[in-house]
Symmetry: C2
């Protein structure tokens, strides 16, 4: 078993911010980037936290494939709608500003929608609809992503993991939010199976021969060479509803790339002739102001009542308990505020690497490991 | 094999309208009801067409559990949002008027949202977002429904089949629309397995013991007595993403019942002490005006390009072809305009029954069968 180091959330955020600033992200925007990344660390979504900093952001910015300074342009702004252009800057910054606009529009009109174009990877999707929740609004976002997922009856990686994520205010200490990919699984989960040397469940991945693949090491390679693809939620074929997950993934692609006329599907591969190229993502953001429909506190209690009824319904024999969405992330937050964030060796070494390259003033516990 | 009679779409719609009018639905509203029901017949969604007329609508109206005359009230109408009250009238009528309001609001503000309360079963969900498509808009609807589906790690029928249905305009002869339940399967499909005497795929239904049930006859009984429940899309547990389908179903419940403070989950059972009671559903409708974001024809072509790229991607060996959503329904429409609608014996006998009770002037081919 690999040794994991625990690093406090606050210190980790300082480090994340220092790295973003160190590669040229302006101070206030580095704060936004670090806040979104740190929210993933906090909520236990380790596929989207500190482990992403080097491969997805640092490396692409240092290689000048993505801009550290975000030229955020409002291209259209008509009543309850807007289109904004991120100009290949920081997706976090684009998304946070776009959702803030949707929230302002919802305050005025009851509902607002903003589409972002020429953006980049925006981290955990839930961050943005949860901004709406802070204003007693319902939030919705989606984004396209690098191709990874095959359509039903297809074998090619066409769609991204395309999340379709709502957040709803409640009277509980945590909001409802369904933050996940529209694919059955994603790369992060497969990497976990590889680390643990376990065979994957059938149905997660489809090979070019149309059959499921379950060897995680082989799959991780095959996913990159497009010899295998993730399945949409519901799995291979239609028997268990694979066409339904495929439908949600398509909805997200249409809303993300269709209304802003940006690149889509295979055009988001990010590599051309072996060279990294910009991945110009589209996102959409909707905010819905609860106060336009009914009294806020009454609605929040009603939302809580629905969720509590689900959690207290009859559980399956042997099941620990029934959760509602956002609850597990909340429980992770409580724990990680105490314990800090567990960092696997590969992440520790990435952190050391970035610190050394940027000459940042951080000391790590693992510096002194023998 | 049972003999199916084919009945033309137009004549079937006339019959459907005559039945609605015969039980007291005003002429113009009967036209709406028949149009939605007939759209299901046309699109091949036989779980929601003529076969539903007697059990879901006729019987409940004749028993005075649901009102034939729809008192449609606008309770709130603020900027881009509204709340309407269907007063236990016809869900079709409530939904069509509510979506028309959302479309009018989207025309003005770019996006509009209307919530319906005290409504009833509104037929195929896609009908309403497709209204938006006719105005070059994107449509979205969802509705709660009678409890049938268990939450992940639960065994009780809590959630409805809660569809979350988008429709998107394209440059093709058919719109994109993902019209399906957020459960893995639904009752109509299980009935089909029962008719064919086949065992169901594991993962569709969970019993009170937490294990999947595959005998369709036993399952159909157990679903009614709440001894079994449908699984959310992704199946039992979390391994294949059951928590994801559960999340979408919950989103629909929250948006349908939460903002309008109406009954939810088990409160929608429709039977109390063996007596039928109103099932006061909530729906939501969102329309998004494409013209607020970009030029309509360019967006429609872009949407079509995305869908065509999916359909022409590499298909699995042995797969006939890759579809996009709404295409199969379109192909059904073309066929049924020629062949008419296939009616199984049980539906023929329901039609005869309603005709005779209402003394309607319709002759059926099966009247003369020997």
């Amino acid at each position: 078993m690999e040794k994991y180091y625990y690093y406090s959330l606050d210190k980790l955020k300082q480090f994340e911010k220092a790295v973003f600033a160190g590669i040229g992200v302006p101070e206030d925007e580095a704060e936004i980037c670090a806040d979104v990344l740190n929210a993933a660390d906090r909520r236990g979504i380790d596929s989207h936290g500190i482990g992403r900093l080097k491969p997805i952001y640092y490396d692409r910015i240092v290689a000048k494939v993505q801009n550290a300074v975000t030229q955020f342009e409002i291209e259209r702004d008509i009543a309850a709608t807007a289109v904004v252009n991120g100009n290949n800057g920081m997706g976090f910054v684009v998304a946070k500003k776009a959702m803030a606009m949707a929230i302002a529009k919802a305050r005025t009109f009851g509902i607002g929608m903003v589409i972002a174009k020429n953006s980049t990877h925006y981290g955990i999707a839930a961050y943005y609809p949860l901004m709406a929740v802070d204003h007693n609004m319902i939030g919705l976002t989606g984004t396209n992503a690098r191709p990874s997922t095959a359509p039903t009856w297809g074998v090619e990686n066409m769609l991204g993991t395309n999340p379709l994520v709502f957040a709803v205010p409640t009277d509980e200490p945590f909001a409802f939010t369904n933050d996940y990919a529209t694919s059955t699984a994603q790369r992060g989960k497969i990497e976990q199976y590889a680390r643990e040397g376990k065979s994957m469940p059938p149905g997660w991945v489809i090979g070019r021969d149309g059959k499921t693949k379950t060897d995680p090491d082989k799959v991780l390679t095959a996913l990159i060479s497009d010899q295998a693809a993730l399945t949409p939620l519901g799995g291979i074929g239609e028997e268990l509803g694979g066409h339904k997950g495929y439908g949600y993934a398509t909805v997200v692609e249409l809303l993300s790339a269709g209304l802003q006329l940006g690149p889509f599907l295979k055009q988001l591969g990010g590599v051309v002739d072996g060279k990294k190229t910009p991945i110009l993502l589209g996102h959409f953001f909707i905010a819905i102001d609860v106060a336009h429909f009914a009294e806020v506190d009454v609605v929040k209690k009603q939302m809580g009542d629905i969720l509590r009824a689900l959690r207290t319904s009859q559980k399956a024999t042997g099941a620990e308990r029934i959760y509602t969405h956002g609850e597990k992330e909340y429980l992770h937050s409580l724990e990680r505020e105490k314990t800090g964030v567990p960092l696997p060796p590969v992440v520790c070494s990435q952190m050391s690497h970035m610190r050394d390259e940027l000459d940042l003033d951080f000391e790590f516990e693992w510096d002194f490991a023998t």
